[in-house]
C-alpha cells in the first residue's frame, strides 16, 4: 500500500523548514505573563522546552503547540510559536487535522493526566494507533490542578480529595501501558525536574515520525505535592529511577547495584546485581517489534504511590504515519480532473 513518493517518511521533522540562523531560548518566549502557581513543575518543563527548541533548528513559524484545558494546557501561550489552547480533551483530534493537512509543521500537543486520560482518552488512543506525526507531552501530576484538586485517572487508589472524601476507589490507568495497548510507536517517560533527561527525551520524541507519547512526571505543589518525592529525593532517587537506554543493560541504583531481569512468568523484576547474575540483566531494546517487553517495563510502576519508575524511551518503532499515508493517497490520486467534468457526470443530457 505504501509507495515511495519521495515524501517525508524519515524522521519526525523532515519536511519542516529549518531556521535561517541560530536561535535562542528568547526567540521562543512569548510576551505573556506565566501564570502557574509558585513552585509548579510546569515552570521547569516550560524552561526546558524553551531551551530545547533552538536545538531543533526549525523555523518558529512552522511550529504549532496545541493543548486542551488544564493548568498544563496553558503552555502554548508562553511559547512564541503558533498555538491553540483548545477545549478539554480534544487536542489530539485537533492536532490530527493540523498534522494531516500540513506536512511542513512540527506539531506538539500539551496535555494533562485529566485532559489526556479522562475526557480525552479516546482521542489519545486513536491518535496513537493512527500514528499521526505529532509529539504529545502528557504532564502527569496525578491530580486535576485547574479545577482545584479532584483525583485523576492516574491518582493512586484510596486518594482523599475534594471529590473523594472517603478515598478514591478506582484503579488508575498506567499511561504507558495504555499507550502500548493502543499500538503506540513511541512511548517515553521523563521528569519535570531533570532538565537534561527531559531534553533528551523531547529530542528523541520530536525526531520520531509518528505519534510520540511522552509522560512527564510533574509536581503540583498545591494539590498533590510530593507525588514524585521518591524519585526526586536525593536519598531515595537512585534506587527509584530506572533509566532506560537502548542497547544498554537496565541497571540503576548506586553503582548500578540493581538491575531489571525477566521473570519466569513473562514479566520483569528488579534484583540486586552481582557477578553471578549480571549477565541476566535485561538489555533494553527500544526498537523491538513486539511491544511485550516495553509493556512489562511499564508495569514496574504500579498504580500506587510512585516508588520506582523507569524513565527514558520504552519503545520506538517505525510504522507509516497516518498523515503521510493520507498525503500519499492524495498524490497518487494525481492531477485534478476538470470540475466541470465531475459535475456533469456520465449521464448529463442537453435540453435545447
Amino acid at each position: 500500500m505504501s509507495v515511495d513518493l519521495g515524501m517525508p517518511q524519515g524522521h519526525g521533522l523532515e519536511g519542516v523548514p529549518t531556521a535561517d540562523g541560530p536561535q535562542t531560548r528568547k526567540d521562543f518566549s512569548s510576551d505573556q505573563e506565566v501564570r502557574w502557581c509558585p513552585g509548579c513543575g510546569d515552570y521547569a518543563i516550560l524552561a526546558a522546552v524553551q531551551g530545547f527548541m533552538p536545538e531543533l533548528g526549525l523555523r518558529r513559524e512552522n511550529i504549532v503547540f496545541i493543548s486542551g484545558i488544564g493548568c498544563a494546557a496553558r503552555f502554548p501561550y508562553y511559547l512564541d510559536t503558533y498555538g491553540l489552547h483548545s477545549i478539554h480533551g480534544r487536542a489530539p483530534a485537533i492536532a490530527t487535522g493540523i498534522a494531516t493537512t500540513r506536512a511542513d509543521l512540527s506539531v506538539w500537543v500539551v496535555t494533562g493526566d485529566g485532559d489526556a486520560l479522562s475526557i480525552g482518552g479516546n482521542h489519545l488512543i486513536h491518535a496513537l494507533r493512527r500514528n499521526v506525526n505529532m509529539t504529545i507531552l502528557l504532564f502527569n501530576n496525578r491530580i486535576y490542578g485547574l479545577t482545584k484538586g479532584q483525583y485523576s485517572p492516574t491518582s493512586e487508589p484510596g486518594k482523599v480529595t475534594k471529590s473523594t472524601p472517603f478515598g478514591s476507589i478506582d484503579a488508575p490507568l498506567n499511561p504507558l501501558s495504555l499507550a502500548l495497548g493502543a499500538e503506540a510507536t513511541f512511548v517515553a517517560r521523563t521528569i519535570d525536574s531533570d532538565r537534561k533527561h527531559l531534553t533528551a527525551v523531547l529530542s528523541a520524541a520530536a525526531r520520531h515520525r509518528g505519534t510520540s507519547l511522552v509522560e512527564i512526571y510533574q509536581n503540583c505543589p498545591i494539590f498533590n505535592d510530593g507525588a514524585f518525592d521518591a524519585i526526586k529525593d536525593p536519598e531515595t532517587r537512585d534506587d527509584a529511577i530506572i533509566p532506560l537506554v537502548h542497547g544498554e543493560p537496565i541497571r540503576f541504583g548506586a553503582d548500578g547495584r540493581l538491575g531489571v531481569v525477566r521473570t519466569p512468568g513473562g514479566g520483569v523484576d528488579i534484583v540486586e546485581v552481582d557477578e553471578s547474575n549480571a549477565g541476566d540483566v535485561l538489555v533494553h531494546d527500544a526498537h523491538a517489534t513486539d511491544a511485550t517487553t516495553a509493556f512489562a517495563l511499564s508495569r514496574i510502576t504500579d498504580g500506587g504511590a510512585v516508588r520506582r519508575a523507569p524513565i527514558g524511551v520504552f519503545r520506538q518503532v517505525e510504522r507509516p504515519t497516518y498523515d503521510d499515508l493520507s498525503r500519499e493517497q492524495s498524490v497518487l490520486a494525481g492531477e485534478a480532473p476538470s470540475l466541470q467534468a465531475l459535475l456533469d457526470g456520465p449521464d448529463a443530457w442537453t435540453v435545447a
Binding site: 503547540f65 512564541d80 483530534a93 485537533i94 487535522g97 493537512t101 500540513r102 479516546n122 486513536h126 442537453t350
Partner: protein, 618 residues
C-alpha cells in the same frame, strides 16, 4: 412502440417500485429515473429504505421502495400518491397499497403470493383473489417465473436467475410509459462487465419485460407523458447528498483552499463522506474520525492550519459537536458543519426525514455563540447551499451550519448544470506579515468584522488563540468585564452583518395581492410550492417565500412578513422557524406541522391552503 396498442396522454405520473430489501428496488428506481431524464420529463424521486440493513426477507420491516414523479411540466415534489405500484411480494403490497391512488394500477409478482408469505405479513386471505383490490387495476403476474424462463439460456442457478426479476419489472414499466431502455442496457453492460452471464440475464429480463408489455393482452394501453418544456441547458439527475458533496468540492476549487472533511458515519449523512472520499484529486482529504467530536475537532484544526474544514453529521452527531462549534465561534475560524437532519429525538427514526434540528443549530452551544445557519431547499439546490455555507464561513471566519435532511439527501431531481467558469470565486484573504506593525489576530475588517486568518507558516504572524475570552484586537486572554460584553456583542454583530451579503427574500405572489403568505425553509420548498399551485389553480391568491438563510434572516424579511394578513409556516417539526419569526418580528405566524418522518404531501398542503384562503375570502 407498435400500433397494436392504444396510447393515452398524461401530464404527470407517480410510480412506486416496492419490494424486499434484497430485490434491488433502489437500482430499479434509479434506472427508471435515468430513462425518464433521458426522455426529457421533469422529475423528482423519493427513496425509502428500512432502518434495518436487511430485515428478514418477506417481512414488512424489510420493504424498500422508490418513488418517482415525472411530468410534462416542471414539478416540485416526488408526488403524494402513486398512480402505479409495483409490488414484488405480499409485504411490499401490504406496506404500500394504502398509498395507491384510487383506481391506480398495481403490478404484483404473483409468484410470491404463497400461503406462507401471505401469512408472514398477516394476510388472512390472498388479496389477489379475495377481491380486496377491486378498487385498483390489478396486474398479478408471475414475474419470477417469467424472468426465470427468459434467462434460462444463461445457465444461472434458479436463485440467481430469479434475481433479475427487477429488470423484468423495469422493462414492463418502461414499456408502459414509453421510456427508452438503451441507457439501461448500457448500464447493465458496464455494471456486470465482470459477470457476462448475469449481465446477459439482466439484459434479457429487461427486454423481455418490455416486450411482455407490448405483446400481452392484459396491458391494453401505454401512456405518453410528453417531455417537459425545460429551460435549455445541460442537465443531470442528482441526489442531495451528491450535490452537497460537489458543492464542497467546488467551494474548495473556488476558494483555492484544500478541503478537509472530518466525519463520523451516520445515517443519512454518510454518503457525503463516501462521495468526498473519492475526490482526493480535487484537494479533498477525508478523515473518518473516532467520533463526531474528533471529526469536528480535526476539521477545526485543519481550518486553523489553512484548509477549509468541513464536518458532516446528523442530529445526534450535531448534539455532540456543540462544544467544539462553540470553540470555533471563539476562535473565529471558517468551519462548515453539515447536518443532514433525520427523525428525532434521540436515535429517533434514523432513515426518515425531519426538520427538527433548526433550534439546535441556532442554540445548541453554551454561552452567546451565534452561528450562521443556511438550508438547502431541494436535492440539486444542495450544491448552491454548500457553496454559500463555505462562502460565509471563509469570508466571515465563522462556523456555519448547513441544514439538509433525509429527503434531500436521497431524493433526486434534474439539475441544471452550472457553468463552472461562472461560479463566483471565494477569497480566503489570508493575513500577510507587515514588519512595521504588530500582528493583531483579533483586529477586524471594518466591512465584515472578520478577523485575520493566519495559518501557521508565516513568520511574524505567530499567535496563540483559544477558547477563553479574548481581548479585542490583541486576542490575549482577557477577564475584563467591559471587554467581554464588547466581544459578545461583536461576535453577534458579525453574524448579524452577514445579512448585508445575502439576497433579499423573494416572494412569489403572482398578482401581488395575496393576503396569505406561506413561508418555509429547507426541503418543504417543493411541497409548499406544489400546494400553492393547487390553491392558485383552484382560484385563490396565496404568496410563497422560502428561506435559504435562517441566521441571519434576509434584511427585508420583516417588511415582507408585515405585508401579509396571515403568515403560515409549514414545517416538519413542531414550529421551530415559526418561533424564530415570532420572536424576531412579533408576527403572529401560524404553523402547519407534521412530524411523520415523511415529506409533506402536495395535496395535503394544497387542501390546507385552500381552506385558509376560503376563510380569508381570498
Amino acid at each position: 412502440m407498435t400500433a397494436s396498442k392504444s396510447t393515452e396522454e398524461l401530464t404527470r405520473v407517480v410510480i412506486r417500485f416496492a419490494g424486499d430489501s434484497g430485490d434491488g428496488m433502489q437500482l430499479t428506481g434509479d434506472r427508471f429515473t435515468q430513462e425518464t431524464a433521458d426522455f426529457g420529463n421533469d422529475l423528482s424521486t423519493l427513496p425509502n429504505f428500512p432502518a434495518e440493513i436487511r430485515a428478514p426477507a418477506g417481512t414488512l420491516p424489510g420493504v424498500s421502495s422508490f418513488q418517482i414523479h415525472f411530468a410534462d411540466y416542471d414539478i416540485l415534489t416526488p408526488g403524494d400518491h402513486p398512480d402505479v405500484l409495483i409490488a414484488m411480494n405480499p409485504a411490499a403490497l401490504k406496506a404500500n397499497i394504502g398509498d395507491l391512488q384510487a383506481g391506480g394500477t398495481a403490478i404484483v409478482d404473483a409468484h410470491e403470493f404463497t400461503d406462507r408469505n401471505l401469512k408472514r405479513v398477516g394476510y388472512e386471505s390472498n388479496p389477489l383473489e379475495d377481491g380486496s383490490l377491486s378498487d385498483y387495476q390489478l396486474h398479478a403476474i408471475d414475474l419470477t417465473g417469467l424472468t426465470v424462463g427468459a434467462v434460462e439460456e444463461f445457465g444461472l442457478s434458479r436463485k440467481d436467475a430469479s434475481r433479475a426479476k427487477n429488470m423484468f419489472a423495469l422493462g414492463l414499466v418502461s414499456w408502459m410509459f414509453g421510456r427508452p431502455i438503451d441507457g439501461s442496457i448500457a448500464f447493465l453492460g458496464k455494471k456486470f462487465a465482470g459477470a457476462p452471464a448475469i449481465r446477459d440475464a439482466n439484459v434479457a429480463a429487461l427486454r423481455t419485460g418490455y416486450n411482455y408489455g407490448e405483446t400481452t393482452e392484459s396491458f391494453a394501453v401505454s401512456y405518453v407523458v410528453k417531455p417537459a418544456v425545460i429551460p435549455s441547458g445541460r442537465y443531470r439527475n442528482i441526489t442531495g447528498n451528491t450535490a452537497l458533496s460537489y458543492g464542497i468540492v467546488a467551494a474548495g476549487q473556488l476558494s483555492g483552499l484544500q478541503v478537509f472533511l472530518g466525519a463520523y458515519p451516520i445515517t443519512p449523512a454518510s454518503d457525503i463522506l463516501h462521495e468526498l472520499s473519492k475526490h482526493k484529486a480535487f484537494g479533498v482529504t477525508t478523515f473518518q474520525a473516532e467520533d463526531e467530536i474528533a471529526g469536528v475537532g480535526a476539521a477545526l484544526g485543519a481550518s486553523f492550519a489553512g484548509s477549509l474544514g468541513v464536518t458532516t453529521t446528523s442530529g445526534p452527531g450535531l448534539a455532540l459537536k456543540g462544544e467544539t462549534i462553540g470553540l470555533g465561534v471563539m476562535l473565529e475560524l471558517p468551519l462548515v458543519v453539515i447536518d443532514v437532519q433525520r427523525g428525532g429525538p434521540s436515535t429517533g427514526l434514523p432513515t426518515k426525514t425531519e426538520q427538527s434540528d433548526l433550534l439546535q443549530a441556532m442554540n445548541g452551544r453554551n454561552g452567546e455563540a451565534p452561528v450562521p445557519v443556511v438550508a438547502a431547499q431541494s436535492p440539486a439546490d444542495c450544491f448552491d447551499a454548500a457553496i454559500e455555507a463555505a462562502r460565509i464561513a471563509i469570508t466571515y471566519r465563522t462556523p456555519v451550519i448547513l441544514l439538509s435532511d433525509g429527503y434531500l439527501a436521497n431524493g433526486s431531481e434534474p439539475w441544471s448544470l452550472p457553468d463552472v467558469e461562472s461560479l463566483p470565486r471565494i477569497e480566503p484573504g489570508f493575513a500577510t506579515a507587515d514588519p512595521d506593525t504588530t500582528f493583531l489576530p483579533y483586529a477586524r475588517d471594518p466591512q465584515t468584522l472578520a478577523r485575520p486568518w493566519a495559518p501557521p507558516g508565516i513568520a511574524g504572524l505567530e499567535h496563540r488563540i483559544g477558547g477563553l475570552e479574548k481581548a479585542d484586537g490583541t486576542g490575549d486572554i482577557s477577564y475584563d468585564p467591559a471587554n467581554h460584553d464588547h466581544m459578545v456583542r461583536l461576535r453577534q454583530a458579525k453574524v448579524d452583518g452577514i445579512a448585508a451579503s445575502i439576497p433579499e427574500v423573494e416572494v412569489d405572489d403572482p398578482d401581488g395581492h395575496a393576503k396569505i403568505l406561506v413561508i418555509g425553509w429547507g426541503s418543504t420548498y417543493g411541497p409548499i410550492g406544489a400546494g400553492c399551485r393547487r390553491a392558485r389553480l383552484a382560484g385563490h391568491r396565496i404568496a410563497q417565500a422560502h428561506l435559504r438563510h435562517l441566521n441571519p434572516f434576509p434584511a427585508n424579511l420583516g417588511e415582507v412578513l408585515a405585508a401579509y394578513d396571515r403568515v403560515i409556516v409549514p414545517e416538519m417539526n413542531l414550529g421551530q422557524l415559526r418561533s424564530l419569526l415570532r420572536a424576531t418580528y412579533l408576527v403572529d405566524a401560524e404553523g402547519y406541522n407534521a412530524v411523520r418522518g415523511m415529506p409533506f404531501g402536495a395535496a395535503e398542503l394544497g387542501q390546507h391552503f385552500i381552506e385558509l384562503c376560503i376563510k380569508e375570502g381570498e
